[in-house]
């Protein structure tokens, strides 16, 4: 039996019935990893994963849906005693002295950690090419990128190198790689999941979320990691239901808004045709669709990149070669000065994309430019959020493409940072407004039928704040209509 093909719920049922052992699932996953050349992982926990699986099998008790299930963790989420590199040279040897809250929660559930996944350095990028540890390849076609920044997590799930994974999403970093790799990826509402132990990129935008092969698995993972945490003052005290038990594929009468601003120039024909077909499926399922307007969409990229880089320039100031991480040791036969050590450490420790964003963020925050750029971006963020508030007065869900094009080739965009930023147009607004959104893969058969290429394409469903159940239900209805 190819265990790595199965979903969390199927494996859980097989474990309970004693038809399989957790060790067998772990072995099948490691087999796929050893056969793979995708570079999904930065660190593997072969010994501890096998040991934990054996202990669980000995007890023979699998009380929670995730007990004995292999999971991969993006390498910007702290695990006590294990390397957490953020895909960066500057944190190559960093070993956190504490666990992120999501890790504590998963440990309590008995999940088995397989390894830490590759990512764009400090989660800054859309292709996983900006990793100090080399790029991850797209499992569907190795000449293409897997998306980013959670590209390692997405490729690992799609290539059966793990059952499910966690990623982080600041401007699309879960949804876009999920879309490129043909899997499901959910960015929860800001405040739904604790950020304690997530290495900060842009604190007002970051959220941890799940990547998996189907909606049910996403629901299980979200229930497992969500909830208020006293260690994260921005986490919210909202009830965490069993998203799995509440899944309902009956979406008759649900109102789905289609924002006209998302269907303009820049959207590839492949994506447009696939999304139009997906909209027809939602109509067939009984949903009502209507055109809406998110009028300030064209300002989203500028707003996002001003806010995200400003927060990043501040968050990344801590990497100075003193408390942790890489330090440039003196090489010349003279006394090294403090400022010189800082500057050399950051020069050698950070990659080009990080430097570019720190510079951009510093520009927006400096005296004389602060009001004109950073403060203005804060203002426009509120306008963008109010566009969504107005739209959700009329509709329950907003449907858009996840990304304007299917996966692009390795190296194709790396030398044009602005073009790479502009492509994030469909995902960044969701983070600015703090809303939940899921990327759902359009079935390969449908993509094929549309006469487009064979690379995966994702449809994005955006919900009201803390209404993850609504988007999960729509995703579930769409997914089960394909089977």
């Amino acid at each position: 039996m190819e265990l790595e093909n199965h979903s969390i719920s199927t494996l859980h049922n097989l474990l309970i019935k004693k038809e399989i052992k957790s060790s067998e699932i772990v072995e099948s996953v490691f087999e796929h990893i050893s056969d793979s050349s995708l570079n999904c992982y930065i660190t593997l926990f072969e010994d501890s994963a096998r040991k934990k699986a054996k202990e669980l099998d000995k007890k023979g008790d699998y009380p929670e849906p995730l007990t004995g299930i292999p999971i991969a963790i993006k390498d910007n989420i702290c695990m006590k005693g294990e390397p957490t590199t953020c895909g960066s040279k500057i944190l190559e040897d960093f070993i956190p002295p504490y666990n992120a809250t999501v890790i504590e929660k998963l440990e309590k559930q008995g999940a088995i950690f397989i390894g830490k996944t590759n990512m764009d350095e400090f989660a800054m990028g859309s292709s996983t090419e900006n990793s100090y540890f080399g790029p991850t390849l797209n499992p569907i076609d190795n000449d293409y990128v897997p998306g980013g920044s959670s590209g390692g997590s997405a490729a690992a799930v799609a290539n059966k190198e793990v059952i499910c994974a966690l990623g982080s999403d600041t401007g699309g970093s879960i949804r876009q790689p999920a879309s490129f790799c043909g899997i499901f990826g959910l960015k929860p509402t800001y405040g739904r999941v604790s950020r304690y132990g997530l290495v900060a990129f842009a604190s007002s935008l970051d959220q941890i979320g799940p990547l998996a092969k189907n909606t049910q698995d996403i629901a299980i993972l979200l229930s497992a990691i969500a909830g208020r945490d006293v260690k994260d003052s921005t986490s919210r005290d909202k009830e965490v239901p069993s998203f799995l038990h509440n899944l309902n594929s009956n979406i008759k009468g649900i109102k789905i808004g289609i924002p006209k601003e998302y269907f303009t120039e820049g959207l590839s024909d492949d994506v447009r045709v696939s999304i139009e077909n997906a909209i027809n499926i939602f109509k067939d399922l009984g949903a009502k669709t209507e055109q809406i307007s998110l009028a300030h969409t064209e300002y989203a990229i500028a707003t996002y990149y001003l806010i995200a880089t400003a927060e990043a320039s501040s968050n990344l100031a801590r990497y100075d070669g003193v408390k942790y991480g890489y330090r440039r040791q003196k090489t010349e036969n003279r006394k090294q000065k403090l400022k010189e050590m800082y500057e050399q450490t950051r020069k050698e420790g950070f990659g080009d994309e990080i430097k570019r964003r720190i510079m951009l963020g510093t520009f927006g925050l400096q005296t004389g430019y602060y009001d004109e750029y950073y403060l203005k971006a804060r203002e426009v963020r509120d306008i963008i959020k109010s566009d969504f508030d107005d739209a959700f007065e009329r509709v329950n869900i907003i449907l858009t493409p996840t990304y304007p094009i299917p996966a692009f080739k390795l190296g194709e965009k790396i030398d044009d940072p602005l073009e790479m930023y502009l492509s994030d147009i469909f995902t960044v607004s969701v983070n600015l407004a703090g809303l939940p959104a899921i990327s759902v893969p359009i079935s390969p058969a449908l993509i094929h039928k549309c006469g487009t290429n064979e690379l995966p394409i994702g449809v994005q469903l955006i919900g009201r704040a803390f209404c993850e159940q609504d988007i999960l239900n729509c995703a579930y209805a769409y997914e089960t209509s394909n089977t």
């Binding site: 300002y299 330090r327 003196k330 500057e343 950051r346 020069k347 430097k355 570019r356 203005k376």
Partner: protein, 93 residues
């Protein structure tokens, strides 16, 4: 507005990152293009007076109860250079 070489160098200084002349030239061009693009938000005006975003409004504080954090030894474990319980930096004065 393309940014000048002088301003690019100044931002590099504020960012505490050492750049070569070639890198400064490259970033001057790239940042100039990106900032030109960012300028499109300048004329947008919000009707919302209070700029405290919802996210910041709803932060909560926990009770100030003393508890044990990580030990000094653990805190120093990742330091590239430490001695007798202290982080060591190059000499400042």
């Amino acid at each position: 507005m393309s940014i000048s070489r002088k301003l690019t160098k100044h931002i590099g200084d504020l960012s505490l990152i050492k750049f070569t002349e070639t890198q400064i030239k490259k970033f001057e061009k790239e940042l100039g293009e990106i900032i030109d693009y960012m300028n499109k938000i300048k004329n947008q005006k919000s009707k919302i007076k209070n700029l405290k975003s919802e996210i910041q409004d709803k932060c909560f504080l926990r009770e100030d109860i003393p508890c044990h954090g990580i030990s000094k030894q653990e805190a120093l474990k990742n330091a590239p250079c430490s001695k007798e319980g202290y982080f060591i930096t190059p000499k400042v004065v």
